[in-house]
């Protein structure tokens, strides 16, 4: 098994080298004479795909057959016996560092093969060179996989294995990872990570060939949206998992690992919008090239922060010197190539950038880039600070930056679609924004009422000494946050209504048919507006659920009938049970009847799971979901007096975050849907 896995990785490595050599040599020989060689370069890319796919198949087979002779299988196999056991069995492939690196390489080989498939009939110079760059990146990953600590096919010490092939030592997947969201979180994130290698490769390819036309952008823009979508999905799934599994009641803690995947997402926002200007106005060319490079460095940094153990974190992996320098070299190298390239090609990549006014659409795109880049750099600097002997920063610092920057950003995002290119004329702008403003005012008023009646009392509960004066910043951040969120929603709705009306008039369609056509024909635009709409909903949810959580810890006697009350919700303990699973894990569950103002709202069944093999306990959180709040119920265990220790949190508006997230995903999916035809060679 082990030899076979390494052999296939070796085959992929050789194929990647062949591809690079053939593509570079083919270009040197010229378009006509080098055609045969270039084609070999494309075919070898499929060879890489076959090699990496085979080796990941070997690893998967080892997990399915529980072949503990592989150390990676011994350490990460799932011990679960639930209905999802087979899922965890497969998910174990990416449960640790070695497997996830192989998974990265596998996705990369698929992206490269997709590019090869799409461009083989054209074999334009930009695509040829970009494919070579992609395979070059692949070489780096495959070599990294042969570093012993990263190698998923390393053998277990013989003394670990019993005569019947059983595992004699303790080992297995971390129980915290045995959850549906966590099985999906790494692969979705990695799709995003690997996908960002494509715009990077084409940016470098365009620099090598010195082609500053919009060809490369048109080839990669949908793939980039696709990658960004998965990066967002991965982040969202991670947040869901943190919320329901970790049991501390939040979904985002500015942990290094969270920041690691958030950074490329931020720069990705800037990249996508730069592509829009590049395609439509021939501007932002250097932005687009450098952001492609920065996004790729960002995903390497993300992998680096998580895999190298450079920053201390709850879930960082073991530190490894060799991988540390290898990844650092990749990051610095990519950045240097980008910087040197753009300096060398400075003249031809000078875009048609016109800033006639601060209120033009161009400048809103510009500030979009500036804010996203600043946010990414600041978060990266704060996250990496302890690695360079600096301070470790907690959520307070991140929040203090994220809130004002976020508010300004969402404001720009909301109004940008209403601005005109070059210069916005007030007499045109005001009639456009009038109705969205009025509607946003109404929504904000409703939210302000909610703030005054529900949220502000929670703030006073959590901070007994607070008053309006000491909480000025907190208060304005909350109210302005609501207002910009509302504006982002109403502007997007307005754009859909007006767009559909116009189309209905021009094409003589009914309003709803026109709306449907608008959404599905002008996909990048309508998908973008829908994404903006979702972001507005998210912001409102973020304000409620991150700034106004009511957190109560309480102990009650362990007898049915015991009662307690949190935030207007009455809990009555009705009993508990404990059962032992076939794998010796012990599941304990408590039952409560929950009512509010005398009306029953359901039952809550929080509990804990004691994992035998891993010798670890996991909380089983119970969440009651309502439109305006979640009730988050945690059973923390029994205290020494034998009482039940409960932790209940009221999380206002948190469903809005998940709902807005869903809208954003749908919007981005529409924007990502490929064009029918990819551009031919310029």
């Amino acid at each position: 098994m082990a030899n076979l896995g390494n052999l296939f990785m070796g085959v992929a490595l050789v194929a990647a080298f062949v591809s690079i050599a053939a593509l570079v040599w083919g270009r040197k020989m010229g378009a006509k004479e080098g055609e045969g060689l270039t084609n070999i370069g494309y075919l070898a890319t499929y060879g890489v795909l076959v090699g990496v796919t085979s080796s990941i198949a070997v690893l998967t087979a080892a997990f399915v057959s529980e072949d503990f002779r592989l150390e990676y299988v011994a350490m990460h196999h799932s011990t679960d016996v639930s209905a999802l056991a087979w899922v965890y069995k497969l998910a174990a492939v990416w449960a640790g560092r070695e497997g996830s690196l192989l998974f990265w390489a596998w996705l990369l080989s698929m992206f490269a093969a997709y590019v090869a498939y799409k461009r083989m009939s054209v074999t334009d110079e930009v695509s040829n060179m970009s494919l070579a760059v992609l395979n070059f990146v692949q070489v780096f990953f495959l070599v990294a996989l042969f570093i012993p600590l990263n190698n998923p096919f390393k053998l277990s010490p013989e003394s670990w294995i019993g005569p019947g092939g059983e595992l004699l030592i303790r080992g297995g997947m971390n129980p915290l990872l045995q959850h549906w969201a966590m099985t999906l979180h790494p692969p979705t994130l990695f799709v995003g990570y690997a996908g960002f290698a494509v715009p990077f490769a084409f940016a470098i390819g365009a620099l090598i060939v010195n082609d500053s036309s919009k060809l490369w952008v048109e080839i990669v823009d949908r793939i980039t949206v696709f990658a960004w979508l998965f990066l967002g999905l991965g982040n969202g799934l991670g947040a869901v998992w943190a919320y329901v599994v970790l049991g501390w009641g939040g979904y985002w803690a500015w942990d290094p690992v969270e920041n690691a995947s958030f950074i490329p997402w931020l720069t990705g926002v800037a990249l996508l919008h730069s592509f829009t200007v590049y395609r439509r106005r021939g501007g932002f060319k250097k932005w687009a090239v450098m952001l492609s490079v920065i996004c790729f460095v960002g995903v390497l940094l993300g992998t680096f922060i998580v895999r190298s153990g450079v920053v201390q974190s709850v879930h960082a992996f073991q530190q490894d010197e060799l991988s540390f320098w290898w990844f650092l070299a990749m990051m610095v190298g990519s950045m240097l190539v980008g910087l040197v390239g753009i300096t060398y090609r400075s003249e031809s990549f000078k875009g048609a950038d016109e800033f006639d006014s601060l209120t033009s659409k161009e400048s809103s795109y510009y500030f979009n880039n500036v804010l996203m880049l600043v946010a990414a750099v600041v978060i990266a600097a704060l996250t990496l600070s302890p690695a360079f002997g600096g301070k470790t920063y907690g959520p307070a610092t991140y929040d203090a930056i994220a809130r004002p920057v976020g508010i300004l950003y969402v404001f720009i995002m909301a109004v940008c679609p209403l601005l005109a290119w070059r210069k916005t004329d007030g007499s045109v702008f005001w009639p456009k924004i009038k109705w969205p403003l009025i509607a946003a005012g109404a929504v904000t008023a409703a939210l302000a009422y909610l703030w005054w009646t529900v949220l502000w009392p929670i703030h006073l509960f959590s901070n007994p000494n607070a008053n309006v004066l000491t909480s000025v910043t907190h208060t304005w951040e909350a109210l302005i946050g609501f207002a910009v969120g509302a504006l982002a929603i109403t502007v997007s709705v307005y754009l859909f209504i007006v767009g559909a009306q116009r189309r209905a008039l021009a094409k003589e369609e009914g309003f709803f048919k026109a709306l449907g056509n608008l959404i599905f024909k002008a996909r990048t635009q309508s998908g973008g507006y829908l994404t903006h709409l979702g972001m507005g909903i998210i912001v409102i949810g973020l304000v409620g659920s991150s700034m106004f959580v009511k957190d109560v810890r309480i102990s009650i006697p362990s007898e049915p009938g015991a009662e307690f009350e949190v935030g207007g919700y009455d809990f009555v303990f009705t009993g508990s049970e404990e059962r032992t699973l076939p794998n010796n894990d012990v599941v304990s569950t408590l039952h409560f009847d929950v009512s509010r103002d005398g009306r029953p709202v359901g039952t809550a069944a929080p509990g804990q799971v004691r994992y035998f093999k891993q010798d670890q306990t996991r909380l089983h959180v119970y969440v009651i979901v309502e439109l305006l709040r979640d009730v988050f119920v945690v059973f923390e265990g029994f205290n020494e007096a034998g009482e039940i220790q409960m932790n209940v949190k009221i999380n206002p508006l948190i469903s809005w975050v998940w709902f807005g997230f869903g809208v954003t995903i749908i919007g981005t999916s529409i924007a990502m849907w490929p064009r029918r035809k990819l551009p031919a060679a310029a």
Partner: protein, 225 residues
Amino acid sequence: MNKRARMRLIGVTAIILISVVAIVVGVGAGDGSYSRSVSDVVGDPEAAGERVRVTGTVVPGSWDKKSSPMKFDIRDEGATEGPQISVVYYGGVPSTFGDEVTAIITGTVNSDGVLESEDMITKCPSKYESATGALTIADLLAEGDGVIGKSVRVTGFVASGSIVPPGGATRFVITDEGGSPSVNVFYDGALPEGMADGSQVVLGGLLDEQGVFDAVSVSLSDTEQ
């Protein structure tokens, strides 16, 4: 390009950058914390009032989950003796908290030298244990009958090829460095991750009348890290 628009653009960019830096410096000064060890903080009279991030091992028996806020002591990571810091913790207690767990605590040292914190991360209980203070096999056997049935800590090396599945009277054999003397170990729990032939282990348990060590806990020695 319009010159005035360009100047304004640069101006606004500068304002954004300066504001962000000001916030980072302003808030970060109060919130950021340097990582320090327990003995480092204990030995520093000027630590009072400073915001620090201390990594340490929870002293066994020093805590009481019932008390609110929870109080416990920590000492240097992996150490079994030496300076301690008392911690008063106001946040929710992580489910993995317990004796000898490694905790990363961020907070402020008050004038009594007590670390007040709302922020704690726990790492999984270490599978490693210090062999300091544990008996060698030779020491154990030299104690004679007096040690039988008494709770002791023993350290030794796993004899090659001796590990077998649970269920029998012997789970594995440990020896002193050099291969002798040796003792059979009975244990029916899961063995620590990474334990292999030749690993140095630290056992808690007792020697029974048949000369078999009845282990309650099996850890890898911290020299195996």
